[in-house]
Amino acid sequence: MRLALRITLAAGLAVGLVGAVSAQEIDTHARAPKHVEYEFEGPFGKYDRAALQRGYQVYKEVCAACHSLKQIAFRNLMDHGGPEFSEAQARALAAAAKVPAGPNDKGETHNDSGEVLTRSAVLADYFPAPFPNEEAARTANAGALPPDLSLMVKARHHGAAYVYSLLTSYGEKPPAGFAVAKGKYYNPYFAGWNIGMPQPVTNNGVTYSDGTKASIEQQAHDVVTFLAWAAEPKMEQRKQMGFAVLIFLLAFASVLGLAYKKVKGEYALK
């Protein structure tokens, strides 16, 4: 049902785009996302646990260089319905990250060479941001601002397919007549086609510890799963509770339906 809806919407979007093309100029609207299927879609869908753990690795080793994920704390890595790392694993992952330490006993937040004082993260810490503020992020990225990824999958139409399409569509040849702007990259799934992000995932760009081959598609699939969880971490609880609620309500409705039938009979109504 949801899938069918998506396809219809995507088709509608495509038709809309074709309609908007004018003869003279190149239409640089984003291409409709590729059709991809995920384990977490549909009423019975769950996150693929292994994909979540691999996706975290891709986020940490690739995306985190520029993108923050500020709504997620290290403790969330152990969450039921999430990546479900063991507590020991989550502690180790946290300890490997550095977060700003805050003022020391002399009231200093920076050392003598002007660097921020840091400490190892603990489970309660949120994922550290790669840049201290928006201006620093823009300066480091030729004026572009890498957005926070916490809600990315929910912040775009067909977000999971969109992010997947974006990550797997570098290296295409731009159509004749389209000039890629200076300092930008060509990506037809990005509105305007000029994207500030260089190709993020590359073949074997990460080495998976579970032996999965790290193709571009595999990494994109894994990191999208991870980001989908980051955007909607309670999805599994939600669907599980949904079934219980619906079963109860159907039973309730059946009983009420019988009661309704009875009063209808008693009062000789239509």
């Binding site: 100029e25 640089t28 000039a179 702007a181 305007g192």
Partner: protein, 189 residues
């Protein structure tokens, strides 16, 4: 109270009317601060001027600065853009007024009346229809038919002088009060 005369009645009416009037005054006096508290606070009013460097802007480029919480377009126009802005017949425009807060309100919407230096166009980035931020038009990515801006909310198209040419917006993009502190720095407000 026993011997009611018409004099007494008049006096009593007066007392009632006076009481009512004073009650109304009291209600009005109480309402005034309750209404006024909604207006911008002293802290909001304090952010009324903005200074910014414009030296790094290239011809054909615009930057958006934040002034009074709203976007402000600072656009360094190319010679072609200036030429097309000056060539427009002011009498045929939907809004014939310059809308320049730094100049007389009755001036016509000629390009000269909307700029200080022809190369620089400084206009509010707030569509005069319903307040969206219009998207800038560049030769490589045109927006609207008039080379200036297109507001995607309701389709208002502006020309290279920020004048409304098509769509529901009633007025030209407003020009704020601003001045050049040097060749590369402006002060708005």
């Amino acid at each position: 109270m026993a011997g009611t005369t018409s004099d007494a009645a008049t006096r009593r009416d007066f007392i009632y009317v006076a009481s009512g009037a004073m009650g109304a005054v009291a209600a009005g006096a109480v309402a005034w601060p309750l209404i006024q508290q909604m207006n911008p606070s002293a802290a909001a009013l304090a952010l009324a001027t903005t200074e910014t460097d414009i030296g790094a802007i290239q011809p054909g480029q615009q930057v958006i600065i934040k002034h009074r919480g709203q976007p402000l377009f600072v656009r360094r126009r190319t010679p072609e853009e200036i030429k097309s802005a000056q060539a427009v017949d002011v009498a045929a425009l939907p809004d014939g007024l310059a809308r320049n807060a730094g100049k007389d309100a009755a001036l016509p919407a000629s390009d000269a009346n909307r700029t200080i230096k022809a190369e620089w166009l400084v206009v509010s980035g707030v569509c005069t229809h319903l307040g969206c931020t219009p998207t800038v038009s560049t030769p490589s990515a045109p927006e609207g038919e008039y080379g200036g801006w297109l507001c995607h909310c309701h389709g208002s198209a502006y020309d290279t002088s920020g004048r409304i040419r098509k769509g529901p917006a009633p007025e030209n993009l407003h020009v704020p009060v601003y001045s050049f502190m040097s060749d590369t720095r402006i002060k708005v407000g």
